[in-house]
Amino acid sequence: MSEPKIAVELILEKLAEESERTQERLRKAKDVLLGELDTAIATTPYDVVHQIDRVKLKHYTPKRKKTLKTPLLVVYALINRETMLDLQPGRSVVQNFMNEGIEVYMIDWGYPTRKDKFLGIDDHVNVYMDEMVDFIRKKHNLDKVNLMGICMGGTFSVIYTALHPDKIKNLITTVTPTNFDTDKGLLHIWTKQIDAGKLVKAYGNMPGDFLNLGFLLLNPARLMIDKYVGFLENIDNKTFVENFIRMEKWIFDSPDVPGETFRQFIEDCYQKNLLIQNKMIVGGKKVDLRKIKVPLLNIYGRFDHLVPPEACELLTKKVGSKDTEDICLDTGHIGIYVSSKCQRELVPKIAEWLRERDVVARKTRKKKKVASKSKT
């Protein structure tokens, strides 16, 4: 009988220690939370160089000498915001590109209002994206630009390249769903049942809060409980708190998605899987992936629960290009851009891949020039 008594005493002692530690943590937490916190996101300076309706084109000038002649246009999804690529100094995809000497343009889709509910994929791809591409081509006096798409923005970029192959030099897709016929991700299972038309009739645009609730429900144990337990355990750590708040700011900054675009994306992509079968119609034209003949780099996350590898990896086999590469990173949907490990891998890989193709293009141009001179 004596042993359990000793154990209880030890446990009581531990509880007392724990209680003291908790008090100390709360004391420090008070200082942290009431003190000055640096939680600003998207602080890298940029210029808005073009705007159509609510859609803006951001321009980031590299700090060092440009290593690529062709600028890179980054197209983010309509869900959440492009600020994720510039969360904080030292953890910024945008800054990493600039450090690599790449000139970056990025589309900011803005905050759709009720007026935008009729805008479909055609408007986003053939109007907004096309105007931005044309602006960059004209400004740099180039025929083609490099295009990088993220998630739904990647799907738009694939559609754009298939419809405007003459305007794109290299295509990079990251965590981009193109094959929707999989039951690996919960989104793919749930969206099969959704009556998107009725949702749009009820809401006009898809509310960002609605979509966020859906994302939280993908893993409530981690996203609604464990995450905040972790926060409480580190509430006295200023750097942790700052990073945590930055991420919270980004996650819950969710613009509504234009109703017609949402309906089309759910019905044509998630429910009918038309894109990968070359059957999708955008702006009255069939999207034929075989028309994508430019180099394609397709990057996705092995543990991505929103866009699983099965939704991404078919693309390289379906396009007409012979220069394709798949890269599967050991990370998830967001980790690919924000984890320290991927920060070290993602941008250098893309930069290297682009430089190889920029050199090839330069050499080909030189060869062509030589050939035309010898002819004359």
């Binding site: 209880v8 009556d195 009725k198 006009g204 509310p207 337990v229």
Partner: protein, 295 residues
């Protein structure tokens, strides 16, 4: 006028409108016998009186239901209704945290030797059948009242009002069922970890680190959720909830448009028509500009 005042005004307008449209039916039932007397008609005698009685008792039942519906404090949630996806998220999160604190308390109590008094964790004394029973009662009893044919000048308004009452009730029941489905894994996983704690406590090595049990719980909970979310039952209830939300929202806007039509402000339908025209015009202008550039 600030947002709260505006909300108050809206629900005031809505309440009085709702009440007046109901009163029309009530007064019709009450005055019917007098009208019959004056006109010298007895209807079809006893049969008519039976019908009238059942009409009046139905209206009394309906009045009970409706008065609850249009009483102050009820109308506002109906109107604001689904301001609320963050509210739903908060309710689920709260349930999770309740489970966390409950486990922590159990762990502390057990380490202090109170294991034999440990209670089994029951989140809510809810029974899945209660949703089914309520739905059946609602469909058989109350919904029938809402389905009474509407007549007269205000019939369309009343029809939309009845539709809203119906959709609101269906939405509330479906939401409760959905939340209950999400609570179940919390309840089950807490029970599993609680059982593990009881068994370890009996062996005398419960340990001094709650984190170990927390990790066990969160992993079990995650597993239960994954199993639930992949099940066809969950997909069905999710679809049911979405349908109910959409139906309710559409019905709510229809009624609000009736209310706002009497006020000097445009409705969503009016605005949407303008936006559609604007969208088409912009498209045309863009096409024409391109053609001009190419010329």
């Amino acid at each position: 006028m600030n947002g709260e005042e505006q909300k108050g005004k809206e629900s005031e307008v809505f309440t009085s409108w709702l009440k007046s449209s109901f009163d029309f039916w009530k007064s019709l039932g009450d005055t019917w016998p007098d009208v019959m007397k004056v006109s010298g008609s007895t209807g079809t005698g006893d049969q008519f009186m039976d019908y009238l009685k059942s009409w009046q008792s139905m209206m009394e039942m309906s009045e009970g239901l409706m008065s609850a519906f249009y009483s102050s404090g009820t109308v506002e949630p109906v109107l604001s209704g689904l301001g609320g996806f963050p509210d739903i998220a908060m309710r689920i999160t709260k349930a999770g945290w309740d489970g966390y604190f409950y486990l922590y308390r159990q762990w502390v109590e057990k380490t202090l030797g109170a294991a034999e008094h440990a209670q089994s964790y029951v989140f809510e004394k809810l029974d899945k059948n209660s949703f089914k029973t309520w739905t059946e009662i609602y469909e058989k009893e109350f919904k029938q009242i809402l389905k009474i044919p509407k007549i007269g000048l205000a019939r369309e308004y009343q029809e939309r009002m009845a539709e809203l009452a119906d959709r609101f009730n269906v939405f509330q029941t479906t939401l409760a069922e959905f939340l209950y489905t999400l609570y179940l894994p919390i309840e089950k996983s807490v029970q599993i970890v609680q059982q593990a704690m009881v068994e370890t406590a009996k062996r005398g090595d419960l340990g001094d680190d709650f984190k170990k049990y927390y990790k066990m719980w969160i992993k079990t909970l995650e597993g239960h959720y994954m199993t639930l979310f992949k099940s066809p039952e969950y997909t069905d209830i999710l679809k049911k909830l979405l349908d109910a939300v959409e139906d309710y929202k559409i019905a709510r806007e229809e009624v609000l448009m009736d209310v706002f039509r009497n006020l000097p402000m445009p409705t969503n339908r009016d605005i949407d028509e303008v936006y559609r025209e604007l969208y088409d015009l912009k498209k045309k202008v863009r096409e024409l500009s391109k053609k001009i550039e190419e010329m």
